[in-house]
Amino acid sequence: MVQYSHARFDDSFAALSDATRRGVLERLGRTDASITELADKFHMTLTGMKKHVAILEQVGLVTTEKVGRVRTCKLGPRRLEEEAAWIERYRQLWAARFDALDKVVEELQQKEKSDGRKNRE
């Protein structure tokens, strides 16, 4: 489905190769957070956390927005693409089941007609 260039994949790989950065993504999956909150949560300096967030932002895993003095971080478009891709695969699974169900239903209807009975039993 969605293809990423090798360069982008390598960058994402590097971005995710750090346990703190994976922790940040997990945290942002629950709710948006400011850099300060993230720094507190992961016992880091603001500068240290800013670097981690910048790396995640570069590869599209996180987006940030500054309102006043607070920079809020949330999951970026890449995460949303992943979710959309998962939902599409889930849809395809059910589409395949329902196509098979169509055949079963059709057969049951045929059988009912040939039995000449409307009732279930």
Binding site: R22, L101, K103
Partner: protein, 174 residues
């Protein structure tokens, strides 16, 4: 986009839709050209369920299919998969079974975080709209289900990479 082109060849009514309706809920819909009574039977009789729940294209096959579709009854599906030695079991309990209109069951194989599935059968003019909703106990549970399906392999790779980096770091320090 690509999802839409695929359905252009068949009638829109036959289209399966899937959507994350809320933080906790996934919804799948599909219309069948048959009365609700017949569609409902195909969802509740094991010998019929077996014929469509594991179509060839999804790569799993039924080993067993036990269904007691009564309120309070249980179900247990066991599948084999070529890539796995262990069979996979899916099981739960029917919370509500209202003939020809509504089925509600639990999904207990995953423990606490399992969804409650509600299927409604809505007949109009000889056609039946099926709406299937998976309601997870929390946003985290649904996010987890999505993440385990889309990135588990990747997470595993990163874990290995972490270990490798630690090993490399240790050897450099020596």
């Amino acid at each position: 986009m690509d999802a839409r082109t695929e359905s252009d060849t068949s009638s829109m009514k036959n289209r399966t839709t899937a959507e994350r309706k809320s933080e906790r809920e996934l919804v799948v819909t599909r219309t069948f050209h048959a009365p609700a009574r017949i569609v409902f039977e195909a969802w509740t009789r094991p010998e019929l369920l077996k014929r469509w729940w594991a179509p060839k294209s999804i790569g799993i096959t039924f080993i067993s299919c036990e269904v007691d579709a009564r309120t309070g009854g249980t179900y247990r599906f066991v599948f084999g998969h070529p890539a796995s030695e262990q069979p996979m079991a899916f099981f739960g309990r029917y919370i509500e079974v209202t003939p020809y209109s509504r089925l509600v069951w639990t999904n207990d194989e995953g423990g606490e975080g399992g969804a409650v599935t509600t299927v409604t059968f809505d007949e109009r003019g000889g056609e039946t709209l099926v709406v299937m909703s998976d309601l997870y106990p929390s946003k985290e549970a649904l996010d987890g289900a999505i993440a385990s399906g889309s990135t588990s392999g990747v997470d595993e790779t990163f874990k290995q990479l972490d270990e490798l980096l630690v090993t490399l770091g240790a050897s450099v320090g020596r």
